[in-house]
Assembly symmetry: D2
Homo-oligomer: 342 residues x 4
């Protein structure tokens, strides 16, 4: 941490700041320039509140220099992390390697026919995981809330029938045991990105985690959320960009494609993209999916429904099976440009 | 809901949209202009996804016209709601009436001396409720997480000693019973504004609720969150503005003072402001507190600590007792301009 | 325009609104529902201020339904516009057709060797236009401000030597005549997107215009700026996405890739992307360039300098010639996925 | 400037960064911690691009520590600047002192009767300056563009008749001479905040400048714009907050009231607020005006029209004279809380 003293700060003011910091066990390096003095603070500065120091007399600005995350930082772990999902020799798939991994399926599982047909369609087009919600957070209390455990059974059956791995959302710590009994990968939704109790419990669940970015979360906060999972013992975390909130109202969210190369530089964790939530309307999903893969995403999470017009949730952003097939065909042309396969 | 057809939309396209809507039980009013046709859709349109209609051929735009909230809307309930907190004849206080109600106290309860001295200080300056956290959401797993039930006991004791009502945060549905046993008003934090399970349970808890605005929540989403509590049976909701996330980095958040007159026009619920979290640094808290009250806020939530430099959390945004006293003195000068008391 | 009356609005309130509108020459269609009355307003409503109507008693909300732009709207002109730049049989290039058109070159022209070598490098890699600034808007008065007319001469000479068309920025109406004497296409920078005097004069300049999106401009405001140029007589406008301002601080701007498919749906004008300004740092430019093209951009504007470490401006976001060559090679793999060439 | 090296950066990488910086004439202080090395860079670092350094091998982050503005910074000039506008002994008024100074009047001057009656009304209520536009930036080419020089004559005449000072907008460097011939203070609109040619010329105009904040400008960029005026020779600059662009759509802009105490801490220049543009609708202007003054604003810029329903521009945000009178009466109650007069 760097404490920048004001040009007008006199010696007693500087000494006072140094005393306060050393009292609390930090080492302080003093650097005196022509115009002002700068103090370097060494120690566990993540416990220090910058605002607190800024209130001391003579302090102009306080700047953190070390990233608050360690376990997920590329600075401390330069090699890419490979996250393996599913069972070796059966439905196993690896995020973060040469393959661009696609998870696809409906927003919610609704009934056996729907999930079987959707699973068959996405597998035929090249998806490696089935996605689908059994527990759904909905803004209206009158909307379809998901099938719960029965949905999990249907998802597992449909995934197994097609040899796909399964990823599904968990909304609450109390659901982890149940969901982990069925799914190969547990998803944390955008609204839960800072639900620390949930993150901590997922750190102990023994299954890989798919962590979506919150609507108003900076990349640093997102990595810090991943740090929570890792600190609790689980380093198998895959990040998922799904759009941030900006002033633009022409799209539901603004998909931050630049987060993909930024994460790649800052963290060793795999990062994928969810163009369906990112753009929110079917006719632009393929464009955003291609953009994410071209920018270097390690995979995609795409909503596909065998009959979107009848979907009970998010039908307008779900692709028809033939649209998904066309998208996969386009991606097969694109990925060699990045030295990858799909 | 209004469906605006494109200028080029022909009769079959228009008929198709009308058929789709009537099939689903809506009434459609057709209005044909020189340039385009506009369809008015009547029925429970909150269940319709605008994006879904926008995908139909010939549709240019779909606009919702009715607000998605009803119970909390001033359009359906023109008179101000008065929210009574505490016990009549003892520590009762009313939000939404002529009095500007101030809740104050430390970020977290830390020990008996701290909470007793803080409670005495805020009451001496004119606060009517004691605030303080026993359960704390923290971004770092290494930070102080709150005292839990022991904290609730200390808060209750300190509030009773001073004749103050008590407001404290509840983070999870499983804590509601416990917290409601001690507190007079239950607070929902910004990160939980869209935790629908929690909102629903608070709708059944029998105590008034203080609902903070989420960091990236629009005013409409905030009122919709209040609608969840009301729909579950509890209309005693007080809204609390505490800053939104914008591009500006000079302040922790951007406190949206304009939300105060906007809420006053759209909803009959009381609205208060939390300048401590809104601005995030002590030396500007009083300015933002005065601004909120001058804009018409029905109350304030202010962090005050008897010794902020020793606080275990948020010390930098906590006022010293004498600063709080000075603020209250300023507010006493200001409120007659709004025909109110404090 | 749609005027939504409040549920509580009585007949005199509704009649008053209708009277005010008909007085001003509008036609009003009244639609009465169970809960509220909705008025459809027909006529030149772009002159009406929605806020003005919202102040009338009984009015709940006013919604615009027709887009405020016409000439640049796809609703009124379904076919793609092709914008031809340069001289037929010589350096002509077409934006909006099958070819993905790349303009490349240094941020600023600095001297003859620099611009000649940069032009040769970008042409060798496949660029069709040379870009480079002779007049530069700089946030510091002490920074390099551009070479002015001498710079224009050098740019023209370098472009001609390589058979490239030339695009360069014009900052002020007084420079248009001069710049149009040298360049094939005139660029409007992001800070000038709402400089209406400049836009109007460019409507009369007889050369194609490259219109960058403002940092805080919605897509609608951007199209409205293009409408200003078109309304003044010039329909040869190419739009250029270059990043918007959001809460994220990890990148200079947030490049809004989703603007590309949105513009494609709303307007017949070509849209290109500037990944150099969009991301602001060299090591992520190629990722964003690939993303833009994969999303459907009609072209790119890329900063390339023959020796970026010595550049007088924006060196950190300029590609080395070999990086640009590698990017073009990647794009050649990608564009067949969109049925295009480069 | 601080250069933070990555934990993995080895000695040659660190030496390379130091060499690059000393080559360019900077002094470098090296500080080696347990985990990483931090370099302090001393010299005219405003010319250094942080992105450029971040590209060097082993560099993790580059942080500016000195503010890029000097002349307008409180760090270099602790005492408040008083900006005197108008003629001593006649219509002179001082911004930045004990008085809260109010400028009021119509958006545009339309005709003699309008401006005379508006001037009389605002003066009767206590305004000290007349505001009104003779040159207007409008988003539609079909809207009223202002009366030009004739408007300036009418404004001057109306101001003189009431003993008021006059502030009006200048849109282009070519208008400065003309406008300065009539007005006592020249206003720069939000869209021109980064029009550096205009700012530089205003630095030489000999009259005080009112500088509005741009819609997407950070406080730092705003102060940097003021630095341009000051660097060109004119230190009589008054800043004016008028709302920023955020995700919230319930209000035209989000008025950033917190900018007022932030500016007060960072700069010695006076800061006022424009609640009319900040909120955009008449019924909430008074609330925001009170908030700004309560937060410590040195003055207000308020739109008042003697008959807003007939205004040619911005009628919906203009106050009626009696509303303005009521607002001034409220402010007279409020300002003693800040030790000020009005």
């Amino acid at each position: 941490m760097i404490v920048v003293m004001a040009p007008a700060a006199d010696a007693p003011a500087i000494e006072h700041v140094i005393a306060r910091l050393t009292e609390r066990g930090f080492d302080v390096h003093r650097s005196t320039g022509a115009e002002r003095t700068v103090l370097g603070v060494v120690g566990p500065t993540q416990e220090l509140d910058t605002a607190e120091l800024e209130l001391l007399p003579g302090v102009e600005e306080v700047v953190r220099v070390s990233t608050p995350y360690k376990l997920v930082s590329r600075a401390f772990h330069p090699d890419d992390t490979l996250v393996r999902v599913g069972h070796p020799g059966n439905n196993e798939v690896t995020f973060g390697g040469e393959e661009v991994v696609v998870a696809a399926g409906p927003c919610s599982v609704e009934n056996e026919e729907q999930i079987r047909r959707s699973a068959a369609a996405v597998r035929a087009a090249g998806a490696r995981l089935l996605r689908g919600g059994a527990f759904k957070p909905r803004s209206s209390p009158y909307s379809f809330q998901g099938l719960g455990e029965q949905g999990l059974e249907l998802l597992r059956m449909a995934a197994d029938a097609e040899g796909l791995a399964l990823v599904t959302e968990v909304m609450d710590p109390s659901q982890i045991g149940l969901v982990a009994g069925y799914a190969d990968m547990l998803q944390v939704g955008a609204r839960n990105m800072q639900n620390y109790v949930l993150l901590r419990e997922l750190g102990r669940c023994g299954k890989p985690v798919l962590l979506k970015r919150g609507l108003a979360a900076t990349i640093e906060e997102w990595l810090l959320a991943a740090e929570h999972v890792a600190a609790a013992g689980n380093r198998d975390v895959v990040l998922c960009e799904r759009g941030i909130r900006t002033f633009e109202t022409a799209t539901r969210n603004t998909m931050d494609i630049s987060a993909i190369p930024v994460i790649e530089k800052r963290s060793h964790l795999p990062v994928i993209a969810d163009p369906s939530h990112g753009i929110g309307i079917r006719d632009k999903v393929a464009a955003m999916a291609r953009a994410a893969v071209a920018a270097g995403a390690d995979g995609l999470l795409v909503e596909v429904h065998h009959d979107p017009d009848k979907a009970l949730s998010d039908g307008a952003q779900s692709l028809f099976p033939e649209q998904f097939q066309a998208l996969m065909d386009q991606l097969r042309i694109i990925v060699p440009a990045l030295g990858r396969s799909i």
